[in-house]
């Protein structure tokens, strides 16, 4: 039985996790099942794993220890995301062997394979698909978040719980988890609450882990403000006073790997923030200046957002929408998404000057895109001759 199970696990991958896997399987999972805070689907996940392992433990003792897991083998969960892809690039460049856990999609994430990563298909919402992907992995980097259109619980909570349990059971030696800054202070926002609970769950699991809280991605601003301004479409912003210290995902990825290799940071909670916190209005003004054109700004008062959320909460069929608008609660408060980074920089041994600022980032973006547009215009003029 044990043999068949292992054969199944290792078929698509390298069989080098024999020892750790088989020895701690049962004990860890049962302990987790008792200790865990989540009940329903996790039971389902465990059941699936346990059934194929019911007779595994006694036989497993006989297995000779396999090849030790190489410290350069990492698994990136959520590799197609904004942060995930930068993590993959950085990892590949630093010489890691990167495996990416992605959902099977009609349009596969070919760019990951183009860069030289290995892609395995699995789905966090289907726990039985997870263990096979963890074979031979030293470190798991988890940058997954459910898509906005899907129910928040399946991936962000149940999926994560299953992944952490699997990682624990299969002897993963480090687990990096990306969370949201201030997630402990806003339990009314479902995603933040879930992130906070996952942080706690990870701590309690006893896995060797690093939790990194993030504030905001500069890359997100491109689609939100920069592109609409260039397209002369209307830009929507709130009048919220909330400030967010946006950070370049490339910097986040860089710092993450420094933190990952630093043994002193095990089990710690780090917060990464950009050099300066910005309000929505400030970002729009900056984009306008760099694009050289005025934006057609539609300002929505936060009160309307809150009202809509209250309204949509009343009906069950709109509760998803209400969840998605939940961040308006945070917006209406005077929160600043930023932390002083000097301690983190010294801890990681990083030069603060190397972290890029939003002005520089957007400046590069606009310079680049305006140049491209110019080229394209020149090209389209050439084609005019033919008609």
């Amino acid at each position: 039985m044990a043999c068949t199970f292992h054969a199944r696990l290792s078929a698509p991958l390298k069989p080098n996790l024999y020892s750790q896997t088989s020895l701690c399987w049962r004990r860890a999972l049962i302990a987790d099942a008792i200790a865990s805070t989540c009940s329903t689907t996790q039971g389902r996940g465990n059941a699936a794993i346990l059934t194929c392992n019911a007779q595994a433990a006694p036989a497993a003792v006989n297995l000779a220890p396999g090849t030790p897991v190489r410290p350069t083998s990492i698994l990136v969960v959520g590799a197609t995301g904004t942060l995930g892809r930068q993590v993959v690039r950085r990892a590949l460049d630093e010489g890691y062997d990167v495996r990416c856990l992605v959902r099977a999609r009609p349009a596969p994430a070919d760019f990951l394979r183009d860069w030289g990563a290995t892609v395995v298909n699995a789905d966090l919402s289907k726990p039985e698909t997870i263990p096979a992907t963890l074979v031979g992995i030293h470190t798991v980097i988890d940058c997954a978040t459910g898509r906005p259109e899907e129910p928040i619980k399946t991936v962000d909570w149940e999926g994560k719980v299953a992944l952490i349990q699997c990682a624990k059971a299969m002897g993963i030696q480090k687990y990096v988890f990306f969370s949201i800054h201030n997630c402990d202070k806003h339990p009314e926002v479902p995603l933040m609450e879930i992130k906070y609970c996952t942080e706690k769950f990870l701590r309690d699991s006893g896995l060797n882990h690093v939790t990194i809280r993030l504030c905001g991605f500069m890359q997100g601003l491109i689609g939100q403000y920069a592109v609409p301004i260039l397209e002369e479409k209307s830009v929507w912003g709130t009048d919220a006073p909330t400030r967010i210290a946006y950070m370049d995902t490339q910097d986040i990825a860089r710092l993450t790997f420094i933190a990952l290799r630093n043994e002193n940071i095990n089990g710690k909670l780090l917060t990464f923030a950009g050099p300066r916190a910005w309000t929505t209005q400030e970002v729009i003004t900056l984009c306008e200046r760099l694009a050289g054109q005025d934006a057609n700004v539609t300002t929505v008062p936060v009160s309307i957002l809150r009202f809509t959320r209250q309204l949509t909460r009343l009906f069950e069929w709109t509760s998803d929408v209400a969840d998605r608008l939940a961040f308006s609660e945070v917006l209406s408060s005077d929160t600043v998404f930023s932390v002083p980074m000097s301690d983190t920089y010294t801890l990681l041994g990083v030069d603060p000057k190397e972290v890029s600022s939003l002005e520089k980032y957007l400046q590069d973006y606009f310079a680049n895109i305006l140049k491209k547009l110019k080229d394209l215009k020149a090209q389209s003029k050439q084609s005019d001759i033919y008609f």
Binding site: E94, K233, L305, F327
Partner: protein, 591 residues
């Protein structure tokens, strides 16, 4: 709920009817593909799509024209041909204005857009992406903003030999991330081999031991990174991969370069510049024979046999420079003022090549450099060459020329105006001859075929990952080193710009962690991460200081007492700064 999700699909770049949008679409962005069915979206979309088409069917008879246009538009949009699309769209939008279906669709799209933006405000800012704009975003993120992109990478094709080795794998990935075109040479295209390589790498089948297979592999390549090594210690294998492999590949690469040079009729940057070709009587015009002595010894001059020399075109069709020098301190010069083709200067070249035959004497090549208008300011530079008995080609890099007056600046090939070949009886070495044949070292004969200038290259063409030998078990070491050494020598002799990297024992760990030491002369003792070696390979591709250098590299270490006399250069690899140039600039070339 459903309305919002549907709103996400006709995304940012994909609102055919949105008036503000049209301008942008004409300019660039990715055309629409049918929205990807995705979980909850599907049901609504089919419904939404169903209603208008149903109506259209009813109207089909009277509105045949519109459906036709609609169809043509669908065909044209994927072409993304700015002009056609926009004109068709103009007609279509005019029709849409009066068409209730179009109006309804438009208003729904406007509402969806508004709702999408509105709901976006209430969310934690995360970027929502559909598969459609993936490509566009990748282009943007891979553009100049990408920290990895390297200028010049776009036009460079690199052939990686040993792409599945520990270093090779990382080299390939790094090249891909930087935007190079990569070809990988593999022996067999089994699935597990191909799976190890990024999908966009062009895999070519071939074996470095089989010269015939390399011809296709090398096609279109500008540079080679060679990180293959023999898997066994059988001498045959070692020789085949580490020595013959390098030989075959350099030969294939040179052949390919020559072919390119021929195709471009000698105008390619790879072709040599002809300075003189001796195939007729006329070609001897302009060459002067002169004699001279280094010192005047009046007494001795009375008794020695004097000297004589001539440069003539023989009946066999050879240009022969021959004579004898019996005078002590005498020499004979054969010199010519160079007349280069218009637009050519020697600074684009890195040396001279002489194709000569003769009796194996050594000669001194003298170049006079200075402003043409005033030859009195010319400075002399010399380099000694030795020839073999019979025909041979001698390469003289400009870098080997030393000024006659030591305080003169180093030779600037741009200013060279006169070339002199000098024979002097001093420092002649007897050549290997059948025993008994008497040779007089004071007589000489030199048959000239041609003199050409070798084209220069700023960058290295061939990067070879060799090894220092430490870390190999003693029984094997000698064999391995012998093969590697032979391979290195082959490469140095090939005439290609080379970089030979000899890393310490390889460690599999992430790169960029520890300071590195670059050194020459087999003194290093530490290991190095595969990723760091790969990084050096990639950096060396465009680094002029890396050209024609061989160096050892390993992690930084503290030298043992008594051995710290050597100055070693340590640098912490960092993506932001280029550590390679300063580290290599202090190392010797052509060692």
């Amino acid at each position: 709920m459903s309305s919002t999700t549907a709103a996400l699909t006709p995304n940012l770049f994909n609102n055919n009817n949105h008036p503000c949008n049209r301008r942008w679409r004409q300019i660039s962005l990715p055309h629409s593909t049918p929205p990807a069915a995705n979980g909850g979206r599907r049901s609504f979309l089919t419904r939404a799509a169903a209603s208008p088409t149903g109506k259209e069917k009813k109207k089909k008879k009277n509105q045949n024209k519109e459906t036709e246009i609609e169809e043509t538009e669908e065909k044209l949009v994927p072409l993304d041909d700015g002009e056609i699309t926009s004109s068709v769209e103009a007609i279509k939008s005019r029709l849409d204005e009066v068409n209730p279906v179009g109006l309804g669709r438009k208003s729904r799209q406007i509402f969806d857009e508004v709702w999408r933006k509105f709901s976006g405000l209430g969310q934690i800012s995360r970027t929502t992406r559909t598969d459609d704009d993936e490509a566009a975003l990748l282009i943007r993120e891979g553009g100049p903003m990408c920290e990895f992109a390297v200028p010049g990478a776009q036009n460079t094709t690199v052939l990686v030999v040993g792409a599945t080795s520990r270093v090779g794998r990382i080299v390939v990935r790094k090249l891909m991330l930087r935007g190079y075109t990569v070809k990988a040479l593999v022996r067999n295209t089994d699935k597990e081999v191909v799976d190890m390589l990024p999908t966009s790498v062009e895999v070519v089948t071939g074996d470095v031991g089989e010269p015939s297979t390399l011809k296709t592999a090398i096609e279109g390549c500008n540079k080679i990174i060679y990180c293959a090594t023999a898997r066994s210690s059988i001498t045959g294998d070692l020789n085949r991969v580490d020595n013959l492999g390098v030989y075959n590949l350099t030969k294939a690469f040179q052949d390919y370069n020559n072919k390119l040079a021929q195709l471009r009729a000698g105008k390619s940057s790879k072709s040599k510049l002809l300075i003189a070709k001796f195939k007729s009587e006329d070609s001897l015009n302009g060459w002067e024979v002169r004699q001279g002595t280094y010192f005047q010894d009046v007494v001795a001059a009375k008794y020695d046999g004097g000297m004589d020399a001539k440069f003539e075109f023989t009946e066999e069709g050879n240009a022969v420079f021959s004579g004898y020098v019996f005078t002590r301190g005498g020499f004979i010069d054969l010199s010519k003022k160079l007349s280069l083709p218009l637009g050519c200067t020697l600074d684009r070249y890195e040396g001279l090549v002489f194709s000569v035959g003769g009796n194996g004497r050594s000669y001194v090549i003298i170049l006079e450099a200075g402003p043409l208008a005033d030859t009195s300011q010319s400075k002399m530079y010399f380099a000694r060459i030795s020839t073999k008995v019979g025909f041979c080609r001698v390469r003289v890099p400009f870098s080997t020329f030393r000024p006659v007056t030591p305080e003169d600046p180093p030779l600037d090939p741009f200013l060279v105006h006169t070339l002199t070949v000098r024979f002097e009886p001093r420092r002649q070495r007897p050549t290997d001859r059948p025993v008994g044949a008497k040779q007089d070292l004071r007589s000489f004969q030199l048959i000239f075929e041609y003199i050409k200038a070798l084209p220069t290259g700023q960058e290295t063409d061939f990067i070879l990952v060799s090894c220092t030998g430490s870390g190999i078990e003693p029984g094997r070491r000698e064999q391995v080193l012998k093969a590697k050494k032979a391979g290195e020598d082959t490469l140095r002799r090939s005439g290609l710009g080379y970089t030979i990297i000899r890393p310490g024992p390889l460690v599999e760990e992430p790169g960029g962690q520890r300071a590195l030491i670059f050194d020459q002369g087999n003194r290093i003792s530490q290991g190095i991460s595969c990723a760091d070696v790969a990084d050096i390979c990639v950096k060396a591709l465009h680094d002029s200081t890396a050209r024609n250098k061989s160096f050892d590299v390993c992690y930084e270490y503290v030298a043992e007492p008594g051995k710290e006399l050597y100055e070693l250069v340590a640098h912490l690899p960092d993506k932001a700064n280029n550590y390679l140039t300063p580290a290599l600039s202090v190392l010797e070339k052509n060692t």
